[in-house]
């Protein structure tokens, strides 16, 4: 059982235990879909939907599931919500669904979601699990937006599709390619560790 206050439970997902920058989970979507901000946001929202509802279901039926079959049950629950998200995008946002391609079905194996069920929802109350899921989702969306903003601005000179750089700007094509994702993530991870180190030294 967690003994944090509810607001701490929410805030830990943003920084202290940020799924991308601190736990290094969910790297596949983080690297793959952050070539444009709209894709990053859509992936973040789809993952949040799956995470929040899976946490809700898992924490409410945790007592019923024998521990021997818990992983299988979690995966079935997660996969159901992923399929719903995928069908919903295809039905109502076809261009987004096209851009995200195979990455939406791959949310099933996003370790953030299974990780939160195993590490948190299976041991905590429904309310706490929900707060934790919302916090982790916010942290994940935040990470995807930071990454995709850097890549989109440098790689295409646009911010959410709107041109923000002057005519002098020559897009760095590498930033929208896979290599740009690794470079940006590496620099960001280093930067965040550096900030943390500084604040620790000071206190």
């Amino acid at each position: 059982m967690s003994n944090r206050t509810i607001s701490q439970e929410y805030l830990k997902g943003l920084w202290e235990e940020n799924p991308v920058f601190r736990q290094l989970l969910g790297m596949c979507p983080t690297l793959a879909v952050t070539n444009a901000m709209i894709n990053g946001l859509a992936m973040g929202l789809a993952t949040s939907f799956v995470l929040i509802f899976s946490s809700l279901v898992v924490s409410s039926i945790k007592k019923l599931i024998p521990s021997q079959v818990r992983i299988a049950s979690y995966i079935v629950i997660i996969a159901s919500f992923v399929t719903i998200a995928d069908r919903f995008l295809a039905a109502f946002f076809p261009p987004l669904s096209k851009n995200l391609g195979p990455y939406v079905p791959l949310i099933v194996v996003n370790c953030i979601i299974l990780g939160r069920q195993e590490a948190f929802s299976s041991k905590n109350t429904v309310g706490r699990s929900l707060t934790d899921a919302v916090g982790m989702s916010t942290g994940f969306i935040f990470a995807l937006l930071v990454l995709s903003a850097i890549r989109e601005i440098l790689g295409m000179g646009t911010f959410f599709g709107l041109p923000v750089m002057g005519v002098w700007f020559k897009p760095w094509v590498i930033m929208v390619l896979p290599a740009g994702a690794f470079i940006t993530l590496g620099i960001l991870l280093g930067l965040f560790l550096f900030i943390e180190h500084k604040t620790k030294v000071r206190s």
Partner: protein, 201 residues
């Protein structure tokens, strides 16, 4: 209940519940998804055969579908060919608009592609690629101009500018167009492309 029975019961219950749930969601979104696909094809037909009021699929085989676009008087304005070929990463699906005599290309649209963003993905961009396909002569196979000509006027009647840095994607589109043009000329000779009502296959 023994543990074994409980394991089976829980997994069965979870599986059944989500199965039922998914069947409902699938049923509710099925029509809309099909409609989106159809709308996309219809829009592409109108964009490559301008003036189309009604369109009809008149031929279909693997990797090729031919639609006839008609104006409000039922006069055939041209054919829209939906064809697919292998690009740099995955299938590229295009829609090619040609006149009824198959001598001229109206324009080209790309329906689906997963080429490299910023490079091959520029095949969907009018400024860097699609504009070169407009009003091209397709009596003979088309060819790519590499390095690209600086102005559209410098290109031959059946020449297309290559996208710098994306030769493979440009070639993939070119090959798909040439293959489907050759095929559609064959089909016309065999008399399988009549747009008259009675002949619709």
């Amino acid at each position: 209940m023994s543990l074994f029975a409980r394991m089976i019961a829980v997994l069965t219950f979870v599986g059944l519940l989500s199965g039922g749930f998914l069947a409902t969601v699938g049923h509710l979104t099925k029509d809309r998804i099909a409609l989106n696909k159809q709308k996309e094809i219809e829009q592409a037909i109108v964009s490559v055969v301008p003036g189309t009021q009604s369109s009809k699929k008149i031929y279909e085989e693997e990797d090729l579908a031919v639609y006839g676009g008609k104006d409000e008087h039922g006069r055939l304005l041209g054919f829209a060919i939906q064809a697919s070929g292998i690009g740099f990463q995955d299938k590229i699906i295009i829609m090619l608009g040609i006149n009824p005599a198959i001598t001229q290309i109206n324009s080209l649209a790309v329906l689906e592609q997963t080429e490299t963003p910023g490079l091959g993905a520029r095949i969907v961009d009018r400024g860097s690629f699609l504009q070169f396909w407009e009003n091209k002569d397709c009596g003979q196979p088309l060819s790519l101009r590499k390095p690209p000509a600086s102005s559209k006027q410098d290109l031959g009647p059946s020449e297309i500018n290559t996208i710098t840095g994306a030769t493979i994607s440009s070639e993939a589109v070119l090959n798909t167009v040439n293959v489907s043009l050759a095929r559609i000329k064959e089909l016309l000779k065999e008399g399988k492309l009549s747009s008259e009502e009675g002949d619709v296959k």
